[in-house]
């Protein structure tokens, strides 16, 4: 007994000593923006509830960085990525941004993956004056632009996504809809847009239900939507709920169409939903339907090359989310090439960027930090477990 406690104690003492030396050693090793390297921070939800967003983003960022460095880097300097995993958790994202800025002294940040985490870190990037290119969907991340000087985003806006959904509903004669959204950042912002834009289209929201990001059973909410006599359901989330809502609808024998947001752009969500996922309609970037894009489309070349490279490197299906990391890193790399790693110059340069990416043809301006409009979307559906372009 005494011997054991002695061993434990020595262990504890070692931990303390190591911690102290750890603080010291890393202190000295901290990169002081060395001449030969560009330090860029990345924050993705690599694990956790939103891992189907963050994982392809991380993979893509590593793939692009390798490609750049293999080709001799940027202006002869190596591109160093500091990749952090926020687990889709807002507080983790805040800590990660602080770490990237204070410890790793990065010149710009790519990510976070979700709207909630992006909104949480906006004030930090603004205050530290470090350009941040978010990979999340909500338009409020970059609006109003006056308060978002240092913030950009590469995915299509949720407001445009709502417009595409409402366009489609109008063409089908759907007037009364039920909406079901998560209370997380993306869902909350989506709910606001759904309600605001409904007036423009004279669409009536007959049921407005919400659920927690961790919820696993949406039966109760769907019963209310069913009873309200909705002609269609719109679900807005990035969590696994995207696969549970269709299952619950099937369970309740609800046959009305289900629309989802562009957060559905990873085939894994459809796989998790199984049979129930068939027929879901959602707007997404052209990346998921590369083969149907005509050859003279300006995006065709970049879409094909990214898809082929990603699927070859990781033997995994391409998703729109990985595409966002691709766009963000190339936009940043181009800016680095022109003006170097001064954050202020980088910001000014990104604001002038025009770029053909996977999500669409970007045209940033001082008034638009997203640079995409609703034509960047294509309406897709799930058929036989695959994403196909909706033909109607």
């Amino acid at each position: 007994m005494k011997k054991r406690s002695l061993i434990l104690l020595i262990g504890a003492a070692l931990i303390l000593a190591f911690s102290a030396t750890g603080l010291w050693a890393e202190e000295k090793a901290a990169p002081a923006a060395e001449g030969g390297e560009y330090h860029v921070g990345c924050i993705f939800a690599i694990t956790g509830k939103a891992s189907w967003l963050g994982e392809p983003e991380r993979n893509t960022a590593e793939m692009v960085a390798k490609e750049i460095n293999d080709a001799g880097g940027i202006n002869g300097k190596k591109l160093v990525l500091h990749i952090e995993d926020d687990q889709g958790d807002n507080t983790q994202a805040v800590n990660a941004v602080n770490k990237l800025i204070k410890k790793d002294k990065v010149c710009a940040i790519i990510g976070p993956s979700t709207s909630g985490t992006s909104m949480a870190v906006v004030p930090i990037a603004q205050e530290a004056q470090i350009p941040l290119i978010s990979c999340a969907g909500a338009a409020v991340i970059v609006e109003p632009v006056a308060e978002r000087k240092w913030i950009f985003k590469v995915p299509q806006k949720d407001s445009d996504c709502v417009r595409r959904i409402y366009d489609h509903m109008t063409s089908k004669g759907i007037k009364d809809i039920g909406i079901i959204t998560t209370t997380s950042g993306f869902g909350g912002a989506g709910r606001d847009q759904l309600k605001k834009i409904a007036e423009e289209y004279a669409i009536k929201i007959v049921a407005d239900e919400t659920y927690d990001p961790t919820a696993t059973d949406m039966t109760a909410q769907l019963v209310k939507i069913k009873n309200a006599g909705a002609q269609a359901v719109v679900n807005w989330s990035i969590e696994p709920a995207q696969s549970i809502v269709p299952q619950n609808m099937k369970q309740l024998k609800m046959t009305i169409p289900l629309y989802q947001s562009h957060g559905f752009g990873n085939i894994k969500y459809a796989q998790a939903a199984g049979d129930a996922g068939e027929g879901i309609i959602f707007p997404a970037g052209r990346l998921l339907a590369v083969d149907t894009v005509s050859d003279d489309d300006p995006q065709k070349k970049v879409l094909v090359s990214y898809r082929d490279k990603y699927e070859k490197t990781y033997s995994d299906k391409v998703s729109t989310f990985g595409g966002h990391a691709y766009d963000a890193l190339w936009i940043l790399a181009n800016a680095l090439k022109k003006v170097g790693d001064d954050p202020a110059k980088l910001r000014d340069e990104i604001e002038k960027t025009e770029f053909v990416g996977t999500a669409g043809v970007f045209k940033f301006s001082p008034a638009d930090h997203c640079g995409l409009d609703k034509t960047a979307f294509e309406m897709l559906t799930v058929k036989d477990g695959k994403f196909v372009v909706l033909k109607e």
């Binding site: 694990t47 509830k49 209370t183 927690d212 696993t216 949406m218 369970q251 309740l252 024998k253 998790a272």
Partner: protein, 301 residues
């Protein structure tokens, strides 16, 4: 809910939903009781057994594509072994147990199981197909999944097995003897240490089954243990701690109340219902609705 036709079918729908959830709480509560009766310990890792069962089942049935019955048996065995290891390596060696120390030990085990589950299965939600078809049946306008029938059926089987085991087998009677008076049981020649181990094994097994049958419906991830555990404890307390039949009824009751709350109040506060019931019972009548206050006073606390 403006049309009266919906009212009945809605209530029925929520009752089905409640039965589904309640069965899981009932099984978790039985697990709590099993260990409590044998040792007087509340096992804070009970919820983790449920998670472990669900995750292992997903792996065996999906990744290794074993048939459901084979995967079911293997998963239950696996978690039972985990339960036995827990008792052998963490509870048995403690020579001078105090309540505080035992609580913290079971908490430590729950952290370890949770951490291991996170490392092994990752932080994603895991999904698997239903046992049989996922086509629902319609009853008076409400719909019920075949999986719900499976859940209720398995719960009933376990309850029947439980009654048989504790009333008609020697080992079961020995365990009951230990629960009533450990010293007297030992004097009568019962190996009480072995009974404690057996109680952990059975409780882990029951937890695993709860996890297995619910996973097709709710998707499983490593974080669910704590909440499942505390709701199961709520059911155990409501039914009178140590009274397993009370626990089953209480578990179903909590499940139905939760479903009703989700349907008629707010689904956001659904999870709080079981906890509020737990606190209310603890504050007002800690012996539970089916337990006697007399017996309560005699228990070690």
């Amino acid at each position: 809910m403006d049309q009266p036709a919906h009212i009945l079918s809605d209530i029925l729908q929520f009752i089905f939903m409640g039965l589904q959830r309640g069965s899981i709480y009932a099984l978790a509560a039985m697990g709590f009781n099993m260990i409590y009766n044998a040792t007087g310990i509340i096992n804070f890792a009970q919820g983790e057994f449920v998670v472990l069962g669900g995750l292992m089942m997903v792996t065996l049935s999906t990744a290794l594509s074993l048939s459901i019955p084979v995967a079911f048996v293997l998963t239950t065995l696996f978690v039972t072994v985990v339960g036995i290891c827990m008792e052998r390596f963490t509870i048995n060696p403690v020579k001078h147990p105090t309540v505080l120390r035992l609580i913290i030990i079971t908490i430590a085990v729950s952290i370890i199981i949770k951490g291991a589950a996170m490392c092994l299965w990752g932080k994603n939600s895991h999904f698997m197909r239903h046992f049989s078809s996922s086509e629902t049946w319609e009853i008076y306008g409400a719909t019920i999944l075949p999986q719900t029938i499976w859940i209720i059926g398995i719960l009933l089987c376990i309850v029947a097995g439980y009654i048989f085991f504790f009333n008609y087998t020697m080992t079961g009677k020995c365990m009951r003897a230990c629960a009533i008076n450990r010293d007297a049981a030992r004097l009568a020649g019962i190996n009480d240490r072995k009974m404690v181990m057996l109680s952990f094994a059975l409780s882990a097994g029951i937890g695993a089954i709860a996890g297995i049958i619910i996973t097709p419906i709710i998707q499983m991830d490593y974080t669910r243990g704590a909440l499942l555990g505390i709701k199961g404890f709520g059911a155990a307390v409501l039914g009178g701690l140590g009274n397993s039949m009370g626990a089953v009824i209480a578990g179903i009751l909590i499940g139905i109340l939760e479903a009703m709350a989700a349907g008629y109040v707010s689904s956001h506060y659904m999870d709080a219902i079981a906890l509020i019931i737990l606190l209310a019972v603890l504050f007002v009548k800690p012996s539970g609705i089916f337990g006697s206050a007399e017996a309560m006073r005699l228990k070690e606390f």
